[in-house]
């Protein structure tokens, strides 16, 4: 079976030789090709080549159309990206500096005609041609309620959200939602089939239960309505979200969840499993390793954690092993140990 078949089998709960194994190696591609981050991320060819090389070496299942999350701000006019040699590029300057700037903000009429899309499109094209038939291709899409953090900074966004004028806030959210709807359609059309919906504000941890229901949920419905939830993965930037899983499954119809390492995996798994019948028996619990600890874990510690996760996740099927955005500081040996352990403990009878 190909990695793509294995993923589909896991979602459907049909037989497969092992669980799907995702490993998110983004910035590591630059090192792989012996390039600086700036040079690496300048070209879609590089991002595709770096990933394909790492996939051959490590054998994990997935590849990414994502360069770095800050790229989404480029569509709104951000032209200052702060590169680092030891970590992910970051938005270097906010396009919204004061509330007045919100009125000037524009969503491109067609994001695929925007220069920021060109290299992503090249990368996706290469990935589709090389491994599209065999490997899942992931996309990263920031929810309307979280995208303002990239455009104005988290503290200013929280301030606008909590104390600002509702019409201004809603106008900004409306633009972000329009952007999301275009973005998800563009990625789908370009061949991405695992669509990671990044929605940290879709947790009680960020906004509490009341605001989750009155604010986050309606905006998420709006983001997802036109394109539907096919291939959508619920992900909260590694923030825990077990308590919203029932609502997300019932109201948004999303049955694939990327669980925070800070959350109880067993609880997540049973919550999802108990609701699978409402989703035609399809769904997936993605167990996510704490990849910040991977920086210094011994091989024994890494193996023990992978084993623990697989033991919780495997019974009953519908389980995937995954990572966060793997920090560059993780030694390569630890990546190997983790993946070897995932293949070993993730084998199915």
């Amino acid at each position: 079976m190909t990695p793509l078949d294995i993923l589909v089998a896991a979602i459907n709960g049909t037989p497969a030789p092992r669980i799907p194994i995702f490993c998110n190696l983004l910035d590591q591609g630059a090192r792989e090709l012996g390039m600086s981050q700036r040079e690496y991320y300048r070209k879609g060819e590089h991002v595709a080549a770096g990933q394909l090389k790492m996939n051959r070496r490590f054998g994990h299942d997935n590849v990414w159309g994502l360069f770095y999350v800050g790229k989404e701000a480029e569509f709104f006019g951000c032209d200052n990206i702060l590169y680092a040699e030891d970590g992910s590029p970051n938005v270097g300057d906010y396009v919204i500096k004061s509330w007045d700037d919100i009125a000037k903000l524009q969503v491109p009429a067609d994001i695929t005609a925007h220069p920021a899309w060109a290299e992503t499109a090249t990368c996706l094209k290469i990935l589709r041609e090389e491994v599209g038939a065999t490997h899942p291709i992931c996309a990263y899409l920031t929810a309307s309620t979280s995208l303002p953090a990239l455009l104005m900074g988290m503290d200013k966004w929280m301030e606008l959200l909590m104390t600002g004028p509702a019409d201004l806030r809603d106008h900004l959210l409306d633009l972000c939602s329009q952007f999301f709807q275009q973005e998800v359609a563009a990625y789908r059309a370009a061949g991405a089939n695992v669509l990671v919906y990044s929605t940290p504000f879709g947790t009680h941890y960020f906004v509490g239960k009341k605001r989750f229901e009155s604010f986050s949920m309606p905006w998420m419905k709006r983001d997802l309505a036109p394109g539907g939830v096919g291939g959508i993965v619920y992900y909260c930037g590694m923030a825990p979200f077990n308590e919203v899983i029932p609502a997300v499954m019932d109201e948004l119809d999303i049955a694939i969840h990327y669980i925070s390492p800070l959350a109880d995996l067993a609880v997540a798994k049973s919550t999802i499993q108990n609701r699978l019948s409402q989703h035609g028996g399809k769904g997936l619990t993605c167990g996510v390793i704490d990849d910040i600890k991977l920086i210094h874990w011994t091989p024994e510690e890494t193996r023990a954690e992978v084993k623990r996760m697989c033991e919780i996740g495997k019974p009953g099927g519908h389980f995937l092993f995954g990572t966060g955005v793997m920090p560059m500081a993780i030694p390569e040996a630890n990546i190997k140990v983790m993946l070897d352990a995932a293949f070993e403990y993730g084998a199915l009878p």
Partner: protein
């Protein structure tokens, strides 16, 4: 009367209603409460109580955390202007996010809590070079340099807290100025702060406030 004021203020803060909180404070002043009483008998205990409530409440959240710190800092700043005598300041802190890091929310919450605890804070902004942390700390007479970092590479890299430590050492300032750190990587790995040469870390704003106040007091006592 004081009990009523405290309760109304706490309710307003818990509901993240800034206007209501200010209304309680203004009514209290109109009814003869002094600015000192507002800060020491209402705001500071409220921050502490709120935070412990928030820690206990399963539905506690970041928005509440943010607003509690924000309201407390704003009320305290306004009240300080009305104090009969300048208040006793516990100490001074410069705070910023590490070089290469533009994540601003954690820093803002910590600042709010410090202000409400009578610590003077100078905000150096985001993406602050190590040299600037040290130079500004000297200028400001800071007891503590507080560095917020949300990403592993800005937390543990060569240009963040490690470099600040190296500069303090180089300039013989380690006795005078302490380094504290916080942000996501430290919450994922509670031992991380030691490896970057920090004297302390905290998982949230109120714990940060307490830890920093203790550190300043210990420094002054020795």
């Amino acid at each position: 009367m004081l009990d009523r004021i405290i309760k109304d203020y706490n309710d307003a803060v818990f509901e993240t209603d800034k206007d209501a909180a200010f209304e309680v404070v203004n009514n209290a002043l109109a009814n003869g409460l002094t600015a000192e009483d507002v800060v020491f008998k209402v705001v500071i205990p409220a921050v502490e109580e709120m935070m412990s409530d928030i820690t206990r409440d399963p539905d506690a959240n970041l928005a509440q955390h943010f607003m509690t710190a924000q309201i407390a800092a704003e009320v305290t700043e306004k009240m300080l202007l009305k104090f009969a005598h300048p208040p006793e300041i516990i100490g001074r802190v410069v705070i910023g996010t590490a070089a290469g890091d533009l994540h601003s929310l954690g820093k803002r919450i910590v600042m709010g809590c410090l202000k409400a605890l009578m610590v003077e804070v100078l905000d150096l902004g985001v993406n602050v070079p190590a040299e600037k942390f040290v130079a500004e700390a000297l200028n400001y007479g800071a007891d503590v340099i507080a560095i917020s970092a949300m990403m592993v590479h800005t937390a543990t890299g060569e240009n963040g807290a490690r470099k600040v430590r190296a500069l303090l050492k180089e300039q013989g300032l380690e006795d005078k100025i302490k380094i504290v750190v916080g942000g996501a990587p430290y919450r994922f790995d509670n031992e991380l702060y030691k490896t970057v040469g920090a004297d302390g870390w905290a998982a949230d704003g109120i714990a940060a406030g307490k830890m920093i106040v203790d550190l300043i007091r210990a420094g002054k006592a020795s």
